[in-house]
C-alpha cells in the first residue's frame, strides 16, 4: 500500500511538473497561428471535448428529434388518414348525390317525354327472400298509389305495384317468377308474353314459330295487359330457340339493371287497357 502511495505521489508529482513545464513553455511560445501555445493547447483540448460533447449531444438530439418527429408524424399521419377518410366519404356522398341527380334528371326527362302522370319514388328496401323479386318504394296510398300500377325507370319497365300502404308500396319486379307483361317485338311487332324466371333473364312466351324475332331485337311493352304503358322498353332478345313446338323459346335481357335500381316512376295514369277492363262488367 505504501508502495502504491509512493507511486501515486510520484505520478502526481510528474503530472504537476509536466503541467508546470507546459504552462511555462506556453507562456513564451506562440503557436503557428500566433496564438499563445497555452491557449492553443487548451483550445485544442477543449475543442476536442466540445466536439465530443457536441457529437454526443447531436446524437441524442437527433434521436430525440427523430423520436419526437416520429410521434408528430404518427399524429399527422393519423390526422391525414382521418381527413382522407372524411374526404373519401364526402367524395362518395358527392358521387352518390351526382348519380342521384343524374337519375332524377333522367326520371324527369322520362316524365317530360311521356304524357303519363307519374310520381317519383325511391326504393327503400328489397325483398326478404330471393324467391320473390320485389322491392319496397317510399310512396304509398297517400300518394295515390294503387295495386297494378306500372313502375318504370329511364331504362325501361321495372314492374308493378302489388301492395300499398299509406307511406310505402311493394313492387313486383318483372324478373319475378310470377310477373308477366304483354310484349312485342319493336321491329317485327311479333307479340308474346314476357314472364320472369327468377333469374337475370326474362322469358318471352307464346311467340309464334313463324314470328320474326332475332337476337338483338328490342322487346317493348304491348300495353295489352292493362298495366304497363305501351312502347316502354322491356329488354333485348338474347336467345332465340326454334327447336320447340309451336312456339319459339325466346330469352330477353332486361333493359333495367335491377341490381342498381334506386329511383323509379310510378305510373298513376291508367292505361287504356286498364280502363277498358274496368269498364267491362
Amino acid at each position: 500500500m505504501a508502495l502504491l502511495d509512493s507511486r501515486s505521489r510520484a505520478g502526481y508529482l510528474l503530472l504537476t511538473a509536466v503541467v508546470g513545464h507546459v504552462l511555462l513553455i506556453s507562456a513564451q511560445v506562440n503557436a503557428k497561428t500566433g496564438v499563445p501555445i497555452l491557449e492553443a493547447v487548451t483550445f485544442g483540448v477543449f475543442a476536442e471535448v466540445q466536439r465530443g460533447t457536441s457529437a454526443v449531444t447531436n446524437s441524442i438530439r437527433g434521436v430525440w428529434t427523430g423520436y419526437v418527429g416520429l410521434r408528430q408524424v404518427r399524429r399527422e399521419n393519423a390526422e391525414l388518414q382521418r381527413q382522407l377518410s372524411d374526404a373519401q366519404v364526402q367524395l362518395q356522398e358527392q358521387r352518390a348525390l351526382a348519380d342521384r341527380s343524374r337519375g332524377l334528371e333522367q326520371l324527369l326527362a322520362l316524365r317530360d317525354r311521356t304524357a303519363l302522370e307519374t310520381t317519383a319514388a325511391t326504393i327503400v328496401g328489397s325483398g326478404v327472400t330471393p324467391d320473390f323479386r320485389t322491392v319496397t318504394i317510399d310512396k304509398g296510398s297517400l300518394q295515390k298509389l294503387k295495386a297494378d300500377m306500372a313502375v318504370i325507370a329511364p331504362a325501361g319497365v321495372v314492374g308493378r305495384v302489388v301492395v300499398t300502404s299509406p307511406g310505402a308500396a311493394k313492387v313486383q319486379l318483372l324478373i319475378d317468377r310470377n310477373a308477366a307483361a304483354g310484349a312485342l317485338d319493336e321491329r317485327s311487332r311479333a307479340q308474346g308474353v314476357v314472364v320472369g324466371t327468377g333469374d337475370s333473364l326474362l322469358r318471352m312466351d307464346y311467340v309464334s314459330e313463324v314470328a320474326d324475332i332475332v337476337i338483338g331485337d328490342s322487346i317493348v311493352a304491348s300495353g295489352i295487359d292493362g298495366i304497363y304503358p305501351k312502347g316502354f322498353v322491356i329488354g333485348r332478345v338474347e336467345v332465340v330457340d326454334k327447336s320447340g313446338g309451336a312456339y319459339k323459346q325466346v330469352l330477353v335481357r332486361p333493359a333495367v339493371d335491377f341490381t342498381s335500381l334506386e329511383d323509379v316512376l310510378v305510373v298513376l295514369t291508367p292505361t287504356a287497357a286498364t280502363d277498358a277492363a274496368r269498364e267491362t262488367p
Partner: protein
C-alpha cells in the same frame, strides 16, 4: 542533504559542460546534465530523478538561448522514467546502466527535439547520428561515473542504506 548534493552535481555538470564545450568548439556529444539526472534517478528513485530533471533542465534552459521549460520538461520525464526503471529493475551491471543511459538520451532527444519541431520553433534536420553519438557518449560517461563513485570508500554501503522511491 541529497538536494544539496543534487544542486552541487548539477552545477558541476553545467560548469564542466560549458567548459568542455568551449574546448571542443561545439563538437561535444555528451550531455553531462542529463547524465547527472539519470544517475540521480538510478541511484535515488523516480521522485529524485524527477526533481533532478526539473531543476537541472530548467537551469540548463535558463543558461541557453532556448525556450525555458523545453529541456526541463524533457529532463523531468526522463529523470522520472529512469527512476522507475532503476526501482523496477536491477540496474547494477555496467551494460544495463549503459543501456539505460543510452535509452534515456534517446528519449530526451525525442522529447526535446519533438517539442521544438512540433511547435515549429526549430528544425533539427536529420539528428539520428548526433543522437546516437550522444547516447553512446552519455552512456559511457554514465557508466564511468558509476564506476568512479563505487570505487569511493563506503559507496556500496551508502547506496544500500539509501531508501528508494
Amino acid at each position: 542533504m541529497r538536494t544539496v548534493w543534487l544542486i552541487i552535481a548539477t552545477a558541476l555538470a553545467l560548469a564542466l559542460q560549458t567548459t568542455l564545450d568551449r574546448f571542443v568548439r561545439g563538437q561535444l556529444v555528451i550531455d553531462l546534465v542529463l547524465v547527472v539526472v539519470v544517475y540521480t534517478a538510478l541511484t535515488s528513485g523516480s521522485v529524485a530523478g524527477l526533481l533532478a530533471g526539473t531543476f537541472a533542465g530548467l537551469v540548463q534552459d535558463a543558461m541557453s538561448t532556448g525556450i525555458l521549460g523545453m529541456g526541463g520538461l524533457a529532463n523531468t520525464i526522463v529523470g522520472f522514467l529512469a527512476g522507475v526503471v532503476g526501482t523496477q529493475f536491477i540496474v547494477a551491471h555496467a551494460f544495463s546502466r549503459f543501456v539505460v543511459f543510452a535509452l534515456a538520451t534517446v528519449l530526451h532527444a525525442a522529447i526535446f527535439m519533438g517539442l521544438y519541431q512540433g511547435l515549429g520553433l526549430r528544425d533539427f534536420g536529420s539528428p539520428y547520428r548526433a543522437v546516437l553519438e550522444q547516447a553512446l557518449g552519455n552512456a559511457l560517461v554514465g557508466v564511468l561515473a558509476f564506476q568512479v563513485v563505487e570505487m569511493l570508500p563506503g559507496a556500496v554501503e551508502r547506496r544500500r542504506s539509501r531508501p528508494r522511491r
